[in-house]
Symmetry: C2
Subunit: 179 residues, 2 copies
Amino acid sequence: MEHNLEDSIAVLRRTPAALNALLRDLPESWTASNEGENTWSAFDVVGHLIHGERTDWMPRVEQILNFGESRAFEPFDRFAQAKQSQGKTLPQLLDEFARLRSENLENLRALNLRPEDFGKKGKHPALGVVTLSELLATWAAHDLTHLHQISRVMGYQYRDAVGPWKAYLGVMHCTGHGA
Amino acid sequence: MEHNLEDSIAVLRRTPAALNALLRDLPESWTASNEGENTWSAFDVVGHLIHGERTDWMPRVEQILNFGESRAFEPFDRFAQAKQSQGKTLPQLLDEFARLRSENLENLRALNLRPEDFGKKGKHPALGVVTLSELLATWAAHDLTHLHQISRVMGYQYRDAVGPWKAYLGVMHCTGHGA
């Protein structure tokens, strides 16, 4: 499946509602628990998604369009949410994520990207040359990676409760792959 | 985290809405694609969840309460959905799953389970002795395993589109664990 703007937007605009349906008002035993030291809870992941909306995806789109490969992207701070989510509730974070995502997708539409834009290049600080098309596909796939992570982190909380069925539950055998 | 009926119901009642928000009216390039021969698409997974609502979870709850360990559960047919989903659309399956889940949770509530019920035992045809508590925890964790799977199957469709970012996306490195 090649990257296609409408396919990416179709995922990007659904993620806030999907996370809202899954997580809002869920007991904290599910949403505040992680997989052990230096791992993330569902609450942490939503904070990370918010930080991406603010500092990563659309700023990088604009940088590719305005500066091409002449300037590397700012590195993305994967730990910024620890400070930024402090004192907030999960429903507040879900609302903030939905609002920012909606604004970003409006801004993306307003760019009126043409087919020839998708091959434009930018410079990732670690990965090197990347295209606008790869950036947009990654924005959507990044949502999926964190939905995958949230379901895994939640599943982990029941790793003992399921008894011998653990053997059959794939989510209990996912080792996280650093994400 | 020990099994707790309210925690399990909290997940079980959210799954249909979460899948609905994620999948309804999403392009078929996402929902009808799988990970290769003998693997499932998101469409197949929703059919599998429906079959579980009809034949697996509540019938096994009732069997534990009525017969204990004296009779092994019917084996669960993991491939029944291929036939049963035929000719249906994904929105129809999402509606059917939501209706069946809602009915099953009403029936579960109507059992008025008491603390002493959760230790009651049943016989799994392959795993041997299991408890009612483990069955209920597994019902919830099974939702999470399939949410984990759906996000992985969707992510797989963009494995090339994301270019070098693939290295950073955990969902692209999950090998499925047989689920």
